[in-house]
């Protein structure tokens, strides 16, 4: 095996471990009381924030690729995106199952009435579409439509930050930092975005 291939494998393994280990940690942390006597809220927050971080990491890949010229990085976008979707789905599921305990009437009301939950729900729908179309076969079949669909990752990242911001009772510093990072990551793609809008 060439050095390049080993390097690519290590990078890949690193992404999977980084996304998986915190989830495995939960199996120890929750019974051990690390998330408090009532872990529901902390757990939902932990999963949501993790999803946002993975999403931003996936956006970091292209700029890194440009400056570092390491081709192996390119292939990390897909696993990072899929892991972000997995975490977002767990976040959504934890809210459905543990907080609202599958009371569908209430769940419907909450999604419609609470703007931050509605925003989060829309975001999850967008991520679902991106995740479903990440199958290589679909990717080829969709051709240029695929690229157009996956540009939604940029609004999705911004929505994630706003969802975080609105969900807080008070304080704005932490979500503002996430939003700033998101805007910088999007700003780095200025040329590409200008091309998208020029069409």
């Amino acid at each position: 095996m060439s050095v390049k291939k080993v390097f690519a494998l290590v990078l890949h393994g690193g992404v999977h471990l980084a996304a998986l280990l915190p989830l495995a940690w939960l199996f120890w942390a929750i019974p051990a009381g690390e998330l408090g006597g009532d872990p529901v809220e902390e757990l939902i927050h932990f999963l949501g924030l993790g999803a946002l971080r993975l999403l931003l990491l996936s956006l970091l890949i292209s700029p890194l690729l440009k400056s570092l010229k390491i081709a192996a990085l390119f292939k990390l976008r897909r696993p990072l995106g899929l892991w972000a979707y997995t975490w977002a789905s767990l976040h959504f599921f934890a809210w459905l199952a543990l907080d609202l305990v599958f009371e569908w009437g209430l769940i419907g009301e909450e999604i419609i009435q609470r703007s931050y939950i509605l925003l989060g729900f829309c975001l999850w729908l967008i991520l679902s579409a991106l995740a479903l179309t990440s199958l290589p076969r679909l990717m080829r079949a969709m051709q240029s439509k695929w690229q157009k669909l996956h540009w939604w990752i940029y609004p999705a990242a911004i929505m994630g930050c706003i969802h975080f911001w609105w969900s807080l009772k008070s304080g704005w510093l932490e979500p503002a930092v996430y939003l700033l990072i998101t805007l910088v990551l999007i700003g780095l793609r200025q040329q590409k975005l200008l091309r998208i809008f020029a069409r």
Binding site: I30, P31, G33, E34, L35, G36, G37, D38, P39, V40, E41, E42, L43, H45, A97, L98, D99, L100, V101, E103, L106, E109, E110, Q113, R114, Y116, S167, L168, K169, S170, G171, W172, L173, E174
Partner: protein, 337 residues
């Protein structure tokens, strides 16, 4: 004597070690010795620097009190959940932050000043108050109350405390006393949330809360000094905090150092922060939704693990309507939420 002559409030942060040691000797002499000197965790309790991420739990002393009538249908939430699921932004905004960051809070000595529209303003020595109330037996009572957080979760807590009205009477409120303004300790050295807006959730400290005089004098309203048979843990608002069971939890101001009786409705922390979301009265009301949470139901925090959660209907006045609805009979509760 519970009421001492008016003297400047001792900020615990500025209490020199020798004064503090003297106090311990005095308290020992008063018969609180066993109460105060027991336990191996004293070093962690009294030193400001925590030895690890989660310091040894602050010492809680056993109390003697009048037990609640056993007929209560309410089953208390397990103690460890009451101790590790808290909102106390002075120690961080996460639910476990108060437990993790508050164990070093210096609780002794602790004074509570009562001032404003009272004939006899003064300072309460909280540990003397606790000690005295234990001796008289009947004054320190267990009250098993529902606790409904505005965030749509609830617990059942076996508080130990004294009716606020009983304490207030000793200071002889004047006819001008229409409201009470409460204040939490302000001590950024001990409370990281007061040092940093990031940790403290962007709130202006000290935390302030208020009650109307008739609410304060209601027999359900207590100043709590303990739960589950022992003195309060810092994260629950030690050594003395307000409990008003028919109101959302944020009204229950913690670690109180000042009560001021006033003529006009005082400002309250969450109302200052978001007046549309948090009213002065904050009575539990399933008919008035909060923009963030439906108030029609609540997640009851009871026994069991992660998958044992259950939701229950939220009751008007948190189930205490028979006792307190009369206080608000002339008011539009949708306007005065």
């Amino acid at each position: 004597m519970l009421i001492k002559s008016k003297q400047p409030l001792l900020e615990s942060a500025t209490t020199p070690e020798n004064v503090y040691s003297e106090r311990r000797a005095i308290l020992k002499g008063l018969g609180l010795g066993g109460l105060l000197l027991a336990g191996p965790s004293r070093a962690g309790f009294f030193s400001k620097e925590a030895s690890g991420p989660v310091p040894a739990a602050a010492k809680r002393y056993p109390l003697s009190y009048q037990k609640a009538a056993s007929a209560s249908p309410l089953v208390p939430t397990p103690e460890n959940k009451i101790l590790t699921h808290n909102n106390f932004y002075e120690f961080g905004t996460g639910k476990t932050d108060p437990f993790k960051n508050s164990q070093g809070l210096r609780l002794e000595p602790w004074t509570l000043s009562v001032e404003g529209e009272v004939a006899k303003p003064g300072t309460l020595d909280v540990w003397e108050l606790i000690n005295g109330a234990q001796k008289q037996g009947a004054q320190l009572q267990e009250r098993i109350y529902r606790m409904r957080c505005v965030e749509a979760w609830s617990m059942v807590i076996p508080w130990i405390g004294i009716e606020l009205g009983q304490i207030l009477k000793q200071f002889e409120p004047t006819s001008k006393a229409k409201y009470l303004a409460f204040e939490t300790l302000y001590d950024p050295q001990q409370m990281p949330g007061q040092q940093s807006r990031r940790i403290g959730g962007g709130i202006d400290y000290p935390y302030v809360e208020g009650l109307r005089m008739d609410e304060a004098m209601h027999p359900l309203t207590i100043l709590s000094v303990g739960l589950y048979g022992k003195t309060l843990a810092p994260q629950n608002g030690a050594p003395i905090r307000l409990v008003v069971p028919w109101k959302y939890g944020f009204k229950g101001i913690k670690s109180i150092v000042k009560i001021r009786l006033v003529e006009k409705m005082p400002p309250t922390t969450w109302n200052i922060l978001a007046a549309k979301e948090y009213g002065f009265y904050a009575n539990v009301n399933p008919a008035v939704d909060h923009p963030r949470w439906s108030q029609g139901s609540e997640r009851a925090i009871t026994e069991g693990g992660l998958f044992s959660a259950k939701r229950q209907k939220t009751l008007p006045f948190n189930g205490y309507g028979d006792e307190v609805a009369g206080l608000y009979s002339a008011m539009n509760l949708k306007k005065w939420f």
